[in-house]
């Protein structure tokens, strides 16, 4: 079969394959993820930690705090009612809780009052343990004489006001109070009510975002008075991210598209080449998405962002074809001539990307799959489809190639130029020194995409509500609920010590809400001793008859066997009390979380030590975990990038022998110089700089391979130059982005590609005899 027929048949098969791939991917119900934790290698985390972290992160990301403020309480309250009506009607909203549970305090009484001797406030317990009976008595008298209406039983039921102390000391998770049956934020100047929105759908759903923001705008507009609604939660960040992306697509995106179009038009003076150039990249990305979706059940959004960048390298293939075709040769002959170079380009870039599949990181595996599939698809499209386009001989391309050839001659050659060699050597040494003194930057803030103003607002709301951070917590695992509570109580001794030393603000734990049975029996015994020692004196000092003391003692004996089993408590107490603390309950395994407020760096270490000392207790710091994850990724990519260079060197050495240095050196040196500069500009190297260097490697290799293949023909020069500068416009302009991730990627591509081009020019050999185009 002739080559031409092979291409023609392949064309149809490829079309069918593309349709099948895209079609079956479209059927898939793939979820798109943006959570960084899902990029963590599966084996690295304890399953229990992973599950709990996921549970917490998921709950957290689906929660939106809604604050409604106005000048008067009445208006704020009405606005909240009105907003609640709107929000509850949205399908993607699971729940909007904005009403103070009518009987939350009464429920507290109902649940705890019968167990007033068994479940004590921690301060009372400590006084009892230290036998500070005098102090307890004074406290009780103070309640007795104070003008405050301290509810909770009569003087006979609870003479020492143990229950009152507990009730008054109970803390709500947030700084809120009940007012007009709603949740009023305390400590805020303007009357403000709180509602908590739980989302059914993902916070990234644009539809849900729009619906919620519309409801907010409706309510704000409905009142003649000033009403302000503030939202806090992942949804707000997701929406801001989407808005920013959209606006950047409109500015940077359109800018780079115009730039690419102008460049291609200037080179060819025709429109057809632009279409021929974009088609393979488009098909490449489409197939890449389809393949990734088919292979992975969950696709990470980062995969798309960077994968698409890497597939962009394939613009090379089309450009070579177009440049060669413009000389007027037949499509088949051009293709036949280009095929070795194209294939080598594909194999080398593909290999550079593919090594990442071997890493244990799901994120890198996905990205590698995406970019390899994309490259292959783009290559097939160039080889099989582009010959079908009719393209007339183009004098424009020839002219551009000649102009470029003249420009090129202004640049010196490295061969035989001692001064230039010394200069380059010196610069490289400087860059290496700069790199060797650098440190990796794996700050979680790199991943933040939200504008600073939003982060400040978010922080203000969190402070106002007195929210505990969700990033750090202790995870406690035990076989049964009782065992878990006992374990927590053991840990709490150390935590209380930290609180006393003011190294820790406060903590929340299940065992505070419902102590272990063992602890409850201890408490009853402690209370019994107080009664025996003081009850008669106490009533006498209040001027009450001894009969009252007898009655109180009778009450105590009637209740001294009453303990509250945790299981019963879970059944009776409002779920809101415990669902954020008890993260997993199964038959032989119970997992709880101890959450903190006000954790300092010193405390972190103390907590780590505390967890390390105990079995089945884990200290989880999600921010730290993310930073460690990024560090790991950064180190892995550095390693794999080195390996990719080595592999490519070996493969290319097979074909080009010693001349391989001309191909490998430009991207390698460009990467070193870029990193050297980045270290100075950005105080260190991060993961996204390195990801961009993979693109630099891909483009640099293509340049070297094609130029060597065609013996540095002017047409190839045109093609590779266009390729570098279109990529520069497409990705380098991301350096203008406000999103840190894109900015770092863009800046690296910008520097790297400029260096690659300059170095390739400097490392060239000027054709002495015939080149391919003569």
């Amino acid at each position: 079969m002739r080559f031409e027929d092979l291409v023609r048949q392949g064309r149809i098969i490829w079309l069918i394959l593309v349709i099948v791939l895209v079609g079956s991917a479209a059927q898939r119900d793939t979820s798109f993820e943006s959570g960084i934790m899902s990029l963590l290698p599966a084996s690295q985390q304890q399953p229990v930690v992973r599950q709990a972290s996921e549970h917490i992160a998921d709950t957290f990301s689906r929660r939106v705090f809604v604050l409604v403020s106005a000048d008067t309480v009445g208006v704020a309250s009405q606005a909240m009612t009105s907003l609640a009506g709107e929000l509850s009607a949205i399908a993607g909203v699971a729940e909007f809780s904005w009403q103070a549970g009518a009987g939350q305090l009464r429920q507290f009484d109902d649940i705890y009052f019968p167990y007033r001797f068994a479940i004590l406030d921690e301060s009372v317990r400590r006084s009892l343990q230290a036998e500070q009976y005098e102090r307890l008595e004074q406290q009780a008298l103070q309640y007795l004489y104070s003008p405050l209406a301290a509810s909770g039983g009569s003087l006979i039921e609870d003479p020492f006001r143990l229950y009152t102390a507990r009730k008054l000391n109970q803390r709500s998770e947030l700084n809120i109070r009940s007012e007009q049956g709603k949740l009023r934020v305390s400590g805020h100047e303007a009357p403000t009510f709180l509602g908590v929105l739980t989302l059914q759908d993902s916070p990234f759903s644009p539809r849900l975002q729009t619906q919620i923001f519309n409801s907010v705008a409706n309510v704000e507009g409905k009142f003649p008075q000033e009403v302000s609604v503030e939202l806090s939660g992942m949804l707000v960040h997701a929406a801001a991210g989407a808005r920013q992306a959209k606006s950047e697509i409109q500015t940077i995106g359109i800018g780079s598209l115009l730039g690419v179009t102008l460049l291609v038009w200037l080179a060819f003076r025709r429109w057809a080449p632009l279409g021929m150039m974009l088609l393979p990249v488009g098909i490449g990305c489409l197939v890449a998405v389809s393949v990734t979706v088919l292979i992975f059940p969950q696709v990470h959004l980062i995969t798309f962002a960077f994968g698409a960048g890497l597939v962009g390298v394939s613009v090379d293939y089309a450009l070579h074809f177009i440049c060669e075709r413009s000389a007027g040769d037949s499509a088949t002959r051009v293709l036949y001539r280009l095929l070795p170079g194209l294939t080598l380009g594909l194999v080398s870039s593909g290999l550079a990307y593919a090594v990442q599949i071997l890493t244990p990181f799901p994120g890198l595996q996905q990205m590698a799959t995406f970019s390899v599939a994309g490259l292959l698809a783009a290559w097939l499209t160039v080889v099989l489809w582009l010959p079908a386009f009719s393209l007339k001989a183009e004098p424009g391309a020839e002219r551009s190639a000649n102009v470029l050839g003249k420009i090129r001659l202004f640049f010196p050659l490295i061969s035989g130029k001692l001064l230039l060699t010394i200069f380059l050597g010196g610069v490289t040494v400087l860059a290496v020194i700069s790199i060797s003194q650098s440190r990796g930057i794996d700050d979680v803030r790199l991943l933040q995409t939200s504008p600073a103003a939003l982060l400040v607002k978010e922080q203000r709301i969190q402070q106002l509500l007195g929210m505990s951070g969700s990033a750090q917590f202790l995870l406690v695992e035990a076989e049964s609920l009782q065992a878990l509570l006992v374990k927590e109580e053991g840990l709490r001794e150390a935590l209380d010590a930290l609180v006393t030393r003011q190294q820790l603000g406060s903590y929340q734990a299940l065992s505070v809400l419902v102590p272990s049975l063992q602890r409850q029996r201890e408490n009853i015994a402690l209370t019994g001793r107080l009664y025996q020692a003081r009850i008669t004196d106490y009533f006498a000092s209040a001027g009450l008859p001894p009969t009252v003391a007898t009655a109180a003692l009778e009450q105590f004996s009637a209740y001294q066997d009453r303990t509250l089993a945790a299981v019963d408590w879970l059944g009776r107490a409002d779920k809101a009390y415990w669902q954020s603390l008890l993260v997993g309950v199964s038959e032989h395994r119970v997992v709880s979380v101890i959450r903190f407020k006000g954790v300092t760096a010193d405390t972190e270490q103390a907590l780590q030590v505390l967890a390390a000392d105990q079995e089945n207790v884990y200290y989880v710091d999600r921010i730290q975990a993310i930073s460690e994850l990024m560090e790991e990724y950064r180190e892995q990519i550095t390693g794999w990038l080195g390996l990719a260079y080595l592999l490519i060197l070996l493969i290319l050495a097979g074909r080009y022998r010693v001349a391989v240095w001309r191909i490998i050196t430009p991207p390698l040196l460009a990467s070193v110089l870029t990193l050297g500069i980045l270290v100075q500009l950005e105080q260190g190297i991060n993961l996204f700089h390195l990801l961009a260097l993979i693109l630099v490697l891909g483009i640099g290799l293509d340049m070297g391979v094609f130029l060597t293949e065609t013996k540095y023909s002017p047409r190839t020069w045109l093609a590779v130059t266009l390729s570098v500068f279109t990529s520069l416009l497409a990705f380098g302009l991301l350096a203008l982005s406000a999103t840190p991730v894109l900015y770092h990627f863009g800046l690296t591509v910008l520097l790297g590609l400029v260096f690659v081009w300059l170095l390739t020019v400097v490392f060239r050999v000027e054709p002495e005899g015939k080149t391919d185009d003569q």
Binding site: S172, E173, L174, G543, L544
Partner: protein, 191 residues
């Protein structure tokens, strides 16, 4: 005994009402009649009636307040105790020893107490309006107001609050849900 007081008060009130022209009381009327001063101090006597014991516990002392800042409630008899109420905390001290400190910002039970005490003692009608409905009479500059809680969380502990006064608040009777009641009378008020 509680009932006796109520009957007595009722008789007293209706008696006065029949003699003089009476005007129904609303928060705006109260705000007009009473003087809202920034600072005030005076003496108090307090009787806490404990329903279950059918007995009253008496105490007396001095108090002072700065509107929106703090109330100092100094019990001198029979024991010395100082209670300081601020918008964010309740602190009880005895001989320099801190017996109790409650951060009322995130304690649902304490905050209601603090807030109500604050607004009752300083006759802050706009705050009381949020928590209570009012009924009562104004008679030749003397008024009597009966507050019923409208807020569920207050209804847990407070059944009713009776206030009496003229330009200034003179007496508070706080009826708790468990039948206890606290009567506070003010004397020698200065501002």
């Amino acid at each position: 005994m509680n009932n006796v007081i109520r009957v007595l008060m009722f008789v007293l009130m209706t008696g006065l009402a029949s003699v003089l022209w009476a005007e129904p009381v609303s928060y705006s009327v109260l705000a007009q009649v009473t003087q809202a001063s920034e600072k005030m101090q005076g003496e108090f006597t307090q009787t806490k009636f404990l329903a279950v014991l059918q007995a009253g516990i008496k105490s007396s002392g001095r108090f002072s307040y700065q509107r929106d800042k703090q109330i100092v409630w100094l019990t001198e008899q029979p024991v010395e105790n100082e209670l300081i109420i601020t918008p964010t905390a309740l602190v009880s001290r005895q001989g320099g020893d801190e017996l109790l400190r409650l951060d009322t910002r995130n304690s649902p039970a304490a905050i209601v107490l603090g807030d109500i005490m604050f607004s009752v003692l300083t006759a802050d009608w706009s705050v009381l309006e949020r928590y209570f409905s009012v009924n009562g009479e104004l008679n030749d500059g003397h008024w009597q107001a009966d507050l019923s809680p409208t807020d569920e969380s207050i209804r847990q502990s407070v059944a009713r609050v009776e206030l009496q006064g003229d330009v200034l608040l003179r007496q508070i009777v706080l009826h708790e849900v468990n039948g206890d009641s606290t009567t506070i009378q003010f004397k020698n008020l200065q501002f």
